[in-house]
Amino acid sequence: MVAIRPAQASDLSAISALDERLTGFSKPAYWQDMLAPERHFLVAESDRGALAGFIAGEVRAWEFGQPAAGWVFAIQVDPKTRLKGVGTALFEALAARFRQAGVTRLRTLVDRKDHLILSFFRAQGMVAGPSLQLDMELP
């Protein structure tokens, strides 16, 4: 079983290391910013005190013209503890915080080639939202 609790500055090196191992990108300043008080940054801790995963999000209103929603910015689970419900526990804990903050919608952006994470969010009941993401290389 894992315990879910708010992330602290002392978790940052483990969070950063797990994320870098899974994505190949080191971004400690980004994770530091996630500790800002208006953000929800949660970690899942094994009973031995090791980091099993984390999730980060924030309630944002009128972003891209949409009324307030809880945005999930990032979620990662240590591959060693996958398929044990860590991701779902993190997702549900963040959703509960969003509900407490008064929002009724949860939203995220996913790489459409990343079938693992797409399937995870689908399994939580998420479906395609009202927006389409567009982008381009700047000339």
Partner: protein
């Protein structure tokens, strides 16, 4: 999005059988449930059986049951049994022109989104959250 009849029947049959893997249904049972041809459905069930998703069919009245993995099987796995693979289509006339190439990029974008959607929905998700 338009699916071929066989694809739609394959999805109907797989999802109906996956709802309760203990249960056995014949092609005729399934055909009646969805109001479709049982001859056509029998052929679809044989394809699903070859793919290891369902098992059964001893004789004309033999029933089928789901033997796949609900969490691991996605809608795309079933669609791919009946629809041509996205990369395998023949080149259309005019595709090498500038306009043909630009049109093809738009169509490819649509295909990629459709495929990502089908690949992200497992049978388990589909049966747990009917949309």
């Amino acid at each position: 999005m338009k699916l071929q009849t066989a694809t739609r029947l394959g999805l109907y049959a797989t999802l109906e059988l996956a709802r309760d893997p203990e249960r056995t249904l014949s092609a005729a049972d399934l055909a009646e449930r969805f109001g479709v041809s049982s001859h056509h459905l029998a052929k679809v069930l044989r394809t699903l059986a070859t793919a290891g998703l369902v098992q059964g069919g001893r004789g004309a009245a033999g029933g089928y049951r789901f033997i796949g993995n609900r969490r691991r099987t996605t809608l795309m796995d079933i669609v791919a049994l009946f629809e041509p693979a996205p990369g395998s289509r023949a080149k259309e006339p005019g595709e090498d022109t500038e306009i043909g190439g630009a049109l093809q990029r738009v169509l490819t974008e649509i295909d990629e989104i459709a495929e990502a959607t089908l690949r992200s929905v497992s049978l388990e998700t589909m049966l747990k959250h009917p949309m």
